[in-house]
Amino acid sequence: MHIRLAVAGLVRNPGRTALRVIVVALAVALLSGMLLFIGNSLRSASSAAVRGVPLDWQGPVSSFQQDQQVAARVAAQPGVAQASATATGPFATATHKGPAGVTSTGQGTVLAVPPGYTNGIDTYRMLQGSVQPGGVVLDQQTAATLQAQLGDTVQMRAHAGAPLRSYPVTGVALITAPDKVFQPLNPSVGPAPAQPPSNAAIMDLGTFAQTLGRDAPPVTAANALSNSQPGQQKGVQWQVQAQLDRAPLTAGSPSAALKLADQTRNRVERSLPGQVTFVDNLSDSLNTAAGDSLYSQTLFILLAVPGALIALGVAYLAALGTSEQDRRDLALLRARGARRRDLIGLAAAESLVIGVLAGLIGTALGFAAVQLLVSGGAHLTAGRAVTTLIAGIVLGILGAGAARFGVTASVLNRDVAASRRSTVRRRKPAWQRYYLDLAALAGSGLVYWLTARTGFSAVVNPDSNPTLSLSVYMFFGPALLWIGATLLLVRIRGRALAWLAKRASARKQGSLRSLLLASAGRRGAAINRGLVVVGLLLAFGVSLAIFSATYDQQAQVDAQLTLGADVTASSPPGVAASKDLAGKVAAVPGVTATTPVDHSYAYVGPDLQDTYGIDPGSFTKATSLRDSYFVGGGSASQNMSRLAQTKDGILVSKETITDYSLSPGDLLRLRVLDQRSGHFHVVPFHVVGTVQEFPSAPRDSFMVANLPYLQAATGAPGPNEIFAKTGGASPTTVGARVAAATAPLGVQVKNVDQQAVQTVSSITTVDMKGISHIEEAFAVILAAAAMGLFVLTAIAERRNEMAAMAAVGASLREVGAFVWSEAGLVLGASIALAAGLGWVMARMLVTMLTHVFDPPPDQMAIPWAFLGALAGAAALAAVLASALASRRLRKLPLGELLRER
């Protein structure tokens, strides 16, 4: 019966019903959009984490036969897409007799693979030819060193005393995952990506087993340790390499993928007891992604939930606009014998109907928003659509119920309070008596302070890959700030505004301005209601916009720091110098500057560190260096200048400076790999500065030296990377042009846009654009709606008062002034509140995540265009609503309103 009555009531007032449905639908749309986005984001994170793993499992075994048997059994397991028997083995030298004479390489490593290996495993890419029985495929760098081509014959020996074996060159390849393929395998330690060998080749497994594989002893548990040093593999590592089915892994969150991957590995290992245990590269990657996804979910929720809650506040405003009508309806129903229970039942039925409608519309809106505003769209399947729809309807019912019961309760309470006014004194709510608002604000400040000091920890794991560990508890800071600020605003009830209005109205008594201010001052609670909703919405928009703009800015900076420059071109040894790669890149339209970089490795004591040879003169023209990258020794340009002036100068990372008690001017002897002989030898450098970040360098330990001096020490035939700046041109476009211009040289070209998407190990790669676009759009719409509703609610509440004003001869302009002046006050106070609270909130979020950003932001990015649009939308809505209000005033039924009042 309640449903029938509710439907009848809603149909009788179509405008009022539509307003409530639309406002609740907007709140639902925001939340359902967020749910869809988070689902997509998690699946994207899983895909990215899985895509970034070229080789899932590597299981060391002791012999060729065992390798084949185990691989066959693993391949038969459910969830395993491919398992191949493979091996890696050393060669002491490779020799090629060509037209220019005999050329030899130093020691290197062979990857032995069976036919069909590349069907599902992506550790190398063929540039020419193919892997064939009896032949050898040379890594492009080795092929360049040997000056060998397809059809030539190269001779290789496993170690100094081993026989020399001859192989026809059947292909040239680029080994894309050498750090994984050639890593020392110790399942109890896990993945330990290693320095790639200087020379590498690929061979058919059968051929390898018959030749080089026979010449060296197998790696076993007994000699694994001695083989685990980079470049020290002396034995043959027989190993089963396996790749899992991708589809089940990418269907859910990284946590679900991690669980599935672990379960599959455990099952496979259990089914082959004592035969194989895997080094799990996949779980390692998924583990990081799972941590990042927890962080991103928390961040998304933190960013979206306040907006959705404030959207419910707008729904409350919408319901409040009809509270007078509700009061009359309730009075009528009571007069007809309805009990309190009936009235609550009717409100529940009405909420149910409105909630279902709003849930359907809101979910559709949320879906449309994700489809339109998020790159890649919503990826909706039937299952996800039904789940989201159910969630949307539940949210709609809850939202409609919260708003409706809020009003019903106030109407019923007012009714009761009116009858007991002389005897009942209303107590303050508990949160006011116990000052929970101030406690929340203090808690927020405390969490913020603790977080800024200790809330993060950068953990550098043994393989020198830094990972970040964030405490989700630090998100209590902004959450408590929202709660505290909202409650404080409710407590104040516009008293500050009333105080200001009272002082202002006392100046020129009797003028319209003073009367408007006096009235506004006494309507503090009503104005405060508008201020709470509109101000918090605007603050939400401001904090979100500033934070996401800063986040995007830092993600871009992070990507550039990781990659090195807008566009980079990595070349095989010697190519950059001999083929004038720098000149070719510089000639590409859109490239404004280039600089050569040589990336190699050197030992500081026992620590192997990345070493970069640069040209200080052109480096800063082709990429960005910030002063914050350098510690204690002046600006970026001063450090570059010092390096340029010191031929054997070297910039050393902060960690190394500390560990080895180094100071500027100190002599630093490095063991540098001589690429000609393949041996390390000692080279003297002098420390000229301390560096903590550098383009393309890892986050922990590295060094930067002058390119000519380093090349002389390493014997490298020129730089192996060219950095290019694109100025204002799109890095993606320019990168494609560079790739096209350098295609024949076997150059690998990357751009910063691609890098921003691909860097899955960094927290800043969580795509904020999608969710921030959705929320910014809703913030604008909701701010406009809230402002409009405030004005219309004020009219609805003051109809009788305004009718009386008109009756005493006031012009409609004067009557209307009571509406628009309050709208102006709410708008002005809301903008001031939003500017303050929004800025503090954004500052808090950015500061909390400062150490996640690499490098930390120098200052917050302010998206003025969006902030202007946000304030403009609220102002426009206020103007439109005031204009609408004036029209309504013109049509006020004065006689009806003033009768018996």
Binding site: V808, R890, R901
Partner: protein, 233 residues
């Protein structure tokens, strides 16, 4: 004899349509003379409040013409009718209808201001003097919610006086008051009527209240009844 300040000719007011059609007034003709005291007497629903609203331009008749100071109120839009009211029509409602967020003084100041804008020739009323006149100088800064019913009605009367009215329309001015307070309010209105000389129209269901007027028009089901009493001045 001078021209009437207000006239009603063939006034009909109809609400709703079809089976819900209600004729609140039907064919009312009425003249109002300057300074006269008229009572509109009738039971609840007889149409007296509607006629009062027609005279004050708050309601536009469905048919017929109404004039105020020679100006055809019924053909004006809402804004123009408001201006016409500002030129001398004061209102006292049954429920005071004070502006709840303005003090007693500010209620008067608002009305005085509206009148001053429409009638630059008239000296603006002094709210303090008017509050003193109705005996509420001490309640100058009180908000309507802080006033008793009688005090609120006296402020409403003072607010109507702030409009420097030539016609004061009172709709059951004692309807919400106890009899003693009601009597005092009626005495006050009579005294002010004598002092300021405005025309006074009081809608009432109480014959005793109507008896205070110089002329009584009885309404019955939206029409003027046969009985119209006139008391010689």
């Amino acid at each position: 004899m001078s021209e009437p300040i207000g006239t009603c000719r063939g006034i009909s007011v109809v609400y709703g349509s079809g089976s819900a059609r209600v004729e609140a007034l039907a064919g009312i003709d009425l003249d109002l003379d300057d300074g006269e005291q008229l009572a509109l007497l009738g039971r609840s629903g007889s149409g007296k409040t509607t006629l009062l609203h027609i005279l004050g331009g708050l309601v536009v008749p469905s048919a017929g013409d109404v004039t105020w100071l020679g100006e055809p109120l019924s053909s004006l839009d809402a804004e123009a009718r408001g201006k016409a009211r500002a030129r001398g029509i004061g209102y006292v409602f049954q429920g005071a209808n004070l502006f709840p967020h303005l003090s007693a003084w500010e209620n008067l100041a608002f009305a005085a201001r509206a009148t001053a804008e429409a009638r630059p020739d008239v000296t603006p009323a002094d709210p303090d003097r008017l509050l003193a006149l109705v005996g509420l100088a001490a309640k100058r800064d009180a908000l309507p919610a802080e006033l008793s019913g009688g005090e609120a009605q006296r402020v409403a009367i003072a607010r109507a006086l702030a409009q420097t009215p030539r016609l004061l329309l009172c709709d059951e001015p004692t309807g919400h008051l106890d009899s003693d307070t009601g009597e005092r309010v009626l005495d006050l209105i009579d005294a002010l009527h004598r002092e300021f000389g405005f025309a006074l129209v009081t809608a009432t269901h109480d014959p005793n209240v109507a008896a205070r007027a110089s002329r009584t028009v009885e309404l019955l089901d939206g029409k003027i009844a046969d009985r119209v009493s006139e008391v010689p001045a």
